[in-house]
């Protein structure tokens, strides 16, 4: 943990409140973007996921103190993130790499 003395705790509390406000704003923007109907689906997805990632970073970084965590925890999480990306990416890749002459869609219809 970063905060140990009362002064530091007070300082972190201010930080937490700022993060909270940022999270609320992020939520409002995400919903707002939905209602204004962005020009393309890809853009909608990109905006929503970008904001979600920023929010996730804020929660993990500040509320969960990841921004100043020990090396050991980083090690564990880096491995986890690597494997989760591997799972997602390789699965999706293999579902799309079918020989062209096979009428194989992703949903397994033959």
């Amino acid at each position: 943990m970063s905060a140990t003395t009362p002064d530091e705790v007070h300082k972190s509390v201010r930080k937490y409140l700022a993060v909270f406000i940022a999270l609320i704003i992020g939520t409002v923007i995400t919903v707002g973007a939905y209602y204004v109907h962005l020009p393309s689906v890809a853009m909608t997805i990109a905006v929503a996921l970008l904001i979600a990632s920023v929010k996730a970073f804020l929660v993990a970084g500040f509320f969960m103190h990841l921004i100043s965590e020990k090396k050991m925890i980083y090690g564990i999480l880096v491995a986890t993130v690597f494997f989760v990306i591997g799972l997602c990416f390789l699965t999706i890749w293999s579902m799309h790499d079918f020989p062209a002459n096979m009428n194989h869609s992703v949903t397994g219809q033959m």
Binding site: V13, F20, L23, T27, A56, L77, T80, C88, S105, T107
Partner: protein
């Protein structure tokens, strides 16, 4: 010998035991939800054009729930900070807001679930669809044979008219909603919500297939219920642990305050993770 480092960090790792434990547990949770999100992406990308539903869920309620959960996240961390400042009374108050938030979240979620179980889609024999809420229906009292004939999938949530007989032969159902020519029309993100809703009375002989928006309705509803259901279980679990530490477990504050603060911190880490999952769930399921 007692187990060391239950309270104070070990010199070379800089961590106390429970902190290592919770982060390892969260790592496995990342894999769990990661696999479910991957499944979501796969099913969605694989769905033929026009079959992935949009605007099925109640966005204002979802937004409200997002804010409720974010609020509970800030209160958890503020409660921990209060303990750090040795202010137990303030911790008690702030953490009770966390617990209240978790309760509100679950209540709102249960309303959303209930709404989906009352939301029906009827495929008529002429190929047209009627999509909306079952009102004044007597369908659910129909016998097994009728249900099977119509490929019925749903729960007995809607009530029949007062005084209806239990044994009932189906004559018609009434749905408050809109009519559509095809699934694509219902699932079109631009059209669905803007339909004017009105009552449709559909004779039993007209029904080809009837079912509600339960998990069986389509893969979208399936992944929606699985993800949010698992998430709700995490909310319940987290609230129970935080509640235990807040209530009966608080005796430890007197005997071993440092360890108590650690417990609050560790339970808080789990709670933030639950919040973090929702941060992704909300746009992915409600908005995209």
């Amino acid at each position: 010998m007692d187990i060391p480092y239950t309270v104070h960090p070990r010199a070379d790792t800089g961590l106390y035991n429970a902190k290592v434990g919770i982060w390892l547990f969260l790592a496995s949770e990342v894999m769990l939800f990661g696999a479910l999100f991957s499944s979501y992406i796969l099913l969605r990308v694989g769905a033929p054009d026009g079959t992935w539903p949009h605007s099925v869920l109640n966005i204002p309620l979802g937004t409200l729930n997002t804010i409720v959960l974010i609020s509970s996240s800030i209160t958890v961390v503020l409660a921990w900070a209060s303990l750090k400042l040795n202010n137990f009374a303030r911790y008690r108050v702030i953490q009770s807001i966390t617990l209240l938030c978790s309760l509100i979240f679950l209540v709102i979620k249960s309303f959303e679930y209930r709404d989906k179980f009352a939301h029906y889609q009827v495929v008529q024999k002429d190929g047209k669809y009627v999509d909306g809420h079952l009102t004044g229906s007597v369908y659910l009292d129909a016998d097994k044979k009728t249900r099977e004939e119509h490929g019925f999938r749903g729960l007995s949530f809607t009530e029949g008219p007062k005084g209806a007989q239990k044994k009932f032969t189906l004559e018609s159902v009434t749905v408050n909603g809109f009519e559509a020519k095809s699934l694509a029309e219902i699932n079109n993100p631009k059209v669905g919500v803007h339909h004017e809703h009105k009552d449709f009375k559909i004779a039993a002989a007209q029904i080809k297939k009837i079912g509600n928006y339960g998990p069986w309705h389509n893969t979208y509803m399936a992944i929606y219920f699985t993800l949010t259901g698992l998430h709700a279980l995490h909310v319940i679990g987290g609230a129970l642990v935080i509640g235990y530490i807040w209530g009966p477990g608080a005796a430890m504050w007197k005997t071993d305050p440092e360890r108590y603060i650690n417990r609050v911190e560790v339970s808080g880490l789990f709670w933030h993770f639950v919040d973090l999952v929702w941060i992704f769930l909300f746009p992915v399921l409600y908005l995209l």
